[in-house]
């Protein structure tokens, strides 16, 4: 069977299980897990797919605690997002990439409104307004950029680039376009928010990188400064904003703003496509560690605390303490920037990591409680194990080679 057929089967299982879940709730969960397993089998890049699978799986698991009105369908939505995220590297087709972006984005519109005993419509409106704006900007930007690939026009290229980056910024929450993030994170239910903060960030990043690299031209080198400046604003806004925030969910919101700033710096690599595997390694490891940490922390917020040691390990991963996964992510981002001669940006990232120490430690000590055997602690344990994978397997070789292979797939020569 081809990949596409398999994907089709997975989608059908998802749909059927969602329908069945109206009669039998656990059907949704079972169906989503089966679909994910099929997706895992389909995906060509092993370390990447297993990470995405694990994140999707933990997201599904955490949804168990949420007693929403559409119980059952929410599993299918997360399953759909995970499948789209897994599949993105299987294709070099522009239309599929954009479809994946939409498939990851749209389910969050519904997820964000979930809460126990009703729907958080006000929050939904706030979130959807920004997401629509983001998607429109992103898609138009992407279309313009693809147009310039066939008929080059400098003005259009710059316009397309800026629109795409702005769309991405709104989508993932980069300052100064981050206003929705603190409100949504603080007033939504922690479980769906943990999905938005983890799984939903991967595809937009890959899609943007993919499109920008594919459409890169002579002008790219000079315009990357725009991305770098936005990244710096976002890092400082997020980290400093988090310093005086008291509510854990709000601290996590600002931490997301800062984190997306780190991530955005990876986009400066687009003017040197031969280095894309470095940016992919850094960006994805960062996203995985970010996802693990956000899931852990939001689950702890939901259950009003989790095991203290787990909380601290996640906090240290966020700060970037070696040899946790967060460290490797930041390290490869820094290597990418150093290769691109953006040394000042390296300094700013290190400085921001230092600024972030107090609030992460505070967050861990506030959310940390003694051990108790419950689902929340189990989820935290799983994400901590994900974070610790890099302790056992230093990701220089296996992750790297996988990223090089990916870089080949998207049609970019890799300098050895």
């Amino acid at each position: 069977m081809t990949d596409l057929t398999m994907l089709g089967v997975a989608l059908i299982i998802l749909t059927l299980s969602a329908v069945c879940s109206f009669k039998f709730r656990p059907a949704g969960l079972i169906g989503a897990i089966v679909a994910l397993l099929i997706g895992l089998n389909t995906c060509n890049y092993f370390p990447y797919s297993i990470f995405v699978f694990l994140i999707g799986f933990v997201n599904l698991l955490s949804l168990v605690t949420l007693k929403s009105e559409i119980k059952g369908v929410d599993y299918a939505l997360v399953g759909l997002m995970t499948l789209a995220t897994m599949y993105i590297f299987n294709t070099s087709d522009f239309a599929f990439v954009l479809a994946a972006l939409v498939l990851v984005s749209v389910p969050t519109y519904i997820l964000v409104m979930l809460r126990e005993g009703g729907a958080n419509v006000e929050l939904g409106v706030k979130y959807i307004s920004f997401m629509v704006l983001a998607t429109v900007l992103f898609l138009i930007g992407a279309v313009i950029l693809f147009y310039t690939k066939t008929a080059f026009d400098g003005f259009l290229y710059v316009l397309g680039y800026v629109m795409l980056v702005l769309g991405l910024c709104i989508e993932i929450g980069v300052a100064p376009l981050h206003e929705w993030v603190p409100d949504v994170f603080a007033s939504g239910d922690p479980i769906p928010i943990s999905i938005i903060a983890s799984l939903a960030k991967i595809v937009p990043f890959i899609a943007a990188l993919w499109i920008l690299v594919y459409t890169a031209c002579d002008l790219t080198g000079s315009i990357t400064m725009f991305t770098a400046v936005l990244a710096v604003i976002s890092m400082f806004t997020g980290n400093i904003g988090a310093l005086t925030s008291k509510e854990p969910a709000r601290v996590l919101a600002y931490s997301t703003v800062a984190g997306m700033g780190y991530l955005l710096t990876c986009l400066v690599v687009v003017s040197k496509p031969e280095l894309i595997y470095l940016a992919l390694t850094g960006g994805l490891l960062f996203l995985f560690s970010n996802a693990a940490g956000k899931i852990g922390f939001f689950n702890a917020v939901k259950s009003e605390g989790a095991y203290s040691i787990l909380m601290f390990i996640l906090a240290f991963s966020f700060i970037g303490v070696p040899p946790l996964m967060g460290f490797w992510g930041k390290l490869f981002i820094l290597i990418t920037l150093a290769e691109m001669q953006y040394f000042w940006l390296v300094g700013i990232i290190v400085l921001n990591s230092v600024i972030s120490i107090p609030y992460y430690v505070r967050l861990a000590s506030e959310l940390g409680v003694s051990w108790e055997a419950n689902l929340s602690n189990l989820i935290c344990l799983v994400v901590v194990i994900i974070t610790l994978v890099t302790v056992l397997f230093v990701p220089v070789e296996w992750f790297f080679s996988s990223m090089e292979a990916i870089a080949h797939t998207v049609g970019i020569a890799v300098l050895k």
């Binding site: 409106v125 706030k126 307004s129 920004f130 704006l133 900007l137 400098g154 003005f155 259009l156 290229y157 710059v158 316009l159 680039y161 800026v162 629109m163 702005l166 709104i170 100064p176 376009l177 206003e179 929705w180 603190p182 409100d183 002008l219 725009f226 806004t237 400093i240 904003g241 988090a242 310093l243 005086t244 925030s245 600002y254 600024i355």
Partner: protein, 645 residues
């Protein structure tokens, strides 16, 4: 041939042989037996030093931190170290034998023997090291061991170990120091010099790329850093030597180092510690060859400073000794004086190029004076220890009757003092004659200054007088001791008898050695003879009148109080330290605290953070305005920037 085995035995045997007693510190039975093993360890060092003396010459090197770093086990068996190694090992061995008796029944023999042997091994390392870093390791070993030994009687429970009269106050300061304070004063003073010395060594390493004293190209090093660089580098290096050798104004620790057991004082004053400073100066000067470097700017100033620090320390020590009432402190002051003369002689080599057997006479004078002084002074200290045991008093006391009953000590003192003061024709006379010639040279030739020879003569005369005073007030004209305990002490007598007898061997060596022929030649000169006779007269006068009552209050007390230099050490310097510490605490720490911890940075971050959070008012229309505003702004900027591309 595996020469390394000899060096290994030389340095390690004293330390290894004292490990058992250190480990057996709880067992009274073993700590009474094991000192013999420690002494045997030093005996092995004596054999090794003799073997090296007779058979080995030149540089021996083995890799340590890596040849590319230039920090290796490099030993130099040259004239100075071969002689000095034997002097150190033999003196340590004789003192150790004496110590078997002297330290019997002590409350912590393990501590004593381990530190004593470490002290000896460290000095041997300093003596043979050619590599400055390796030398510094031994140098620090000396510092640590001396701290342990000076403060050996750390309980401060016996007045016999104090320095100064208990309860005597002058102004705000009590001029009395217990052993615990003695150890602290020693280590704090020498640290004050060791730190700049360490930086100087580091600077030499960086600038010359080599730390082997004999291989460094000193001329190009000095020329490379200019006059100011040379002066700063050498003064930093000399700080270590001056503090270790207790030259003015760093002499205070030496006086209160007398709180340690007498064996320690003897070793400290003869062949280790204070001698280490002067020895390293002679050794470094030996290879710098300053008499050939008159073209180097700044070097003359450095050597002038050393010359006068040495001469002034010589006179200061001798004068203080003339007022001293305590046996060991008198000897300590005289040691400081002698060490000063060694520095002065070494420094004079800058202007004095006269060579014998390829060696500079001024350096030979400095070194031979060190050797003579070592044996004589060690003998006197050992005698002083015996006297303290016999009279239960650390103050000068003992008449002729007492002297007759303790004949070996009496005779040893007569020999040691007469051989040391420079009276013709005994050992030190020939060496001092050489020194007279050197200082006279500074007057008659370059740099035409008369002060050195005047200071030398004054020091020599005063020095003779205080040696006679020691003899007279302990054995001839002193007050009758309150206690007399003359039994036993066989090993003690053996110790100082052997020690003092070496002075005859040295006299013999001066006459037969080729390189010391210059001393003999100088001894026949009228100038030397006049100074020698002057010393003899001063000696005899002081022997007859050891106390002049009208001088006993002023300046006697002034000299006994070491010209109030303790104020600099115990009052002024700590006050400066406390002031700096106060300023750092009040202004520095608080300022830093306010900047980083309490006000400026936290305030700034707090304000910005609140500003960032202020826009989160919850209204969608406001957010949309902000975001759309930014989007429009960026698009306009992009459009303007993109036109024409």
């Amino acid at each position: 041939m595996n020469e390394w085995i000899f060096f290994l035995l030389l340095f390690l045997t004293p330390v290894v042989s004292s490990v058992p007693i250190a480990l057996a510190y709880k067992s009274k039975e073993w700590t009474e037996r094991l000192p013999y093993l420690s002494v045997f360890g030093i005996f092995v060092s004596v054999l090794m030093s003799l073997y090296i003396f007779f058979t080995m010459e030149g540089q021996y090197s083995w890799p340590w931190l890596g040849p590319e770093l230039g920090i290796n086990f490099v030993f130099m068996c040259d004239y100075l170290s071969r002689y000095m190694g034997v002097v150190t090992a033999v003196i340590a061995f004789f003192i150790a034998i004496y110590g078997l008796d002297y330290m019997k029944g002590d409350y912590r023999p393990s501590w004593y023997w381990f530190c004593f042997n470490l002290f000896t091994a460290s000095m041997l390392l300093v003596v043979y090291s050619d590599n400055l870093f390796l030398l510094f390791v031994g140098w620090e070993g000396l510092g640590a061991a001396s701290w342990g030994l000076i403060g050996h009687w750390f309980r401060d429970d016996d007045d016999i170990a104090y320095v100064g009269k208990a309860g005597r106050k002058v102004g705000p300061l009590e001029l009395s120091w217990p052993p615990s304070s003695g150890g602290w004063r020693a280590i704090s003073t020498i640290r004050f010099g060791d730190v700049p010395m360490f930086f100087a060594i580091a600077a030499i390493w960086v600038l010359a790329g080599n730390l082997n004293i004999s291989e460094i190209n000193w001329e190009s090093l000095f020329m490379g850093i200019g006059a100011a660089g040379t002066i700063i580098l050498m003064l930093c290096f000399l700080m270590g030597l001056f503090t270790k050798s207790a030259q003015v104004p760093f002499s205070e620790w030496l006086m209160t180092a007398m709180t340690g057991p007498t064996t320690v004082s003897a070793l400290l004053h003869s062949a280790t510690m204070v001698a280490a400073g002067a020895f390293v100066f002679l050794k470094v000067t030996w290879y710098i060859e300053p008499w050939n470097l008159h073209n180097v700017p700044g070097l003359e100033l450095v050597y002038t400073i050393v010359l006068f620090v040495g001469l002034l320390s010589g006179l200061y020590g001798a004068l203080c000794g003339s007022g001293m009432l305590e046996r060991k402190v008198l000897l300590a002051a005289s040691t400081m004086s002698s060490i000063g003369l060694m520095f002065a002689a070494g420094a004079a080599s800058f202007w004095f190029h006269h060579e014998i057997a390829g060696m500079n006479l001024a350096l030979l004078v400095g070194f031979w004076y060190m050797a003579t002084h070592a044996f004589a002074k060690a003998s006197l200290f050992l005698v002083a220890g015996h006297l303290i045991h016999a009279t239960h008093s650390r103050f000068l006391c003992g008449g002729l009757e007492f002297g007759k009953r303790i004949k070996p000590a009496f005779i040893a003192t007569i020999i040691a003092t007469t051989f040391l003061i420079g009276m013709p024709p005994l050992t030190a006379y020939w060496v001092k004659s050489g020194m007279d010639e050197v200082m006279e040279h500074l007057y008659l030739h370059e740099p035409h200054i008369v002060l050195p020879i005047i200071l030398l003569i004054l020091t020599s005369l005063t020095y003779s007088a205080i040696m006679a005073r020691f003899l007279s007030l302990n054995f001839i004209k002193g007050e009758k001791p309150e206690h007399e305990h003359l039994e036993g002490g066989g090993l003690m007598k053996l110790g100082y008898s052997m020690m003092v007898s070496v002075l005859f061997i040295l006299l013999f060596l001066i006459f037969i050695n080729e390189e010391t022929a210059g001393f003999v030649h100088a001894g026949y000169m009228s100038m030397s003879f006049v100074v020698g006779v002057g010393a003899l007269i001063a000696y005899l006068v002081a022997l007859y009148v050891p106390r002049i009552s009208i001088f006993s209050r002023v300046p006697g007390t002034f000299f006994n109080d070491r010209m109030y230099l303790p104020y600099l050490n115990d009052y002024i310097t700590p006050k400066i330290g406390f002031f700096i510490s106060y300023m750092v605490q009040e202004f520095g720490n608080r300022g830093i605290d306010a900047f980083f911890n309490t006000k400026v940075i936290p305030g700034l971050f707090g304000a910005i953070s609140k500003g960032i959070r202020k826009i989160q008012i919850g209204y969608l229309n406001v957010y949309v305005k902000i975001v759309l505003g930014f989007v429009m702004l960026f698009l306009i900027i992009a459009s303007i920037g993109g036109i024409g591309l």
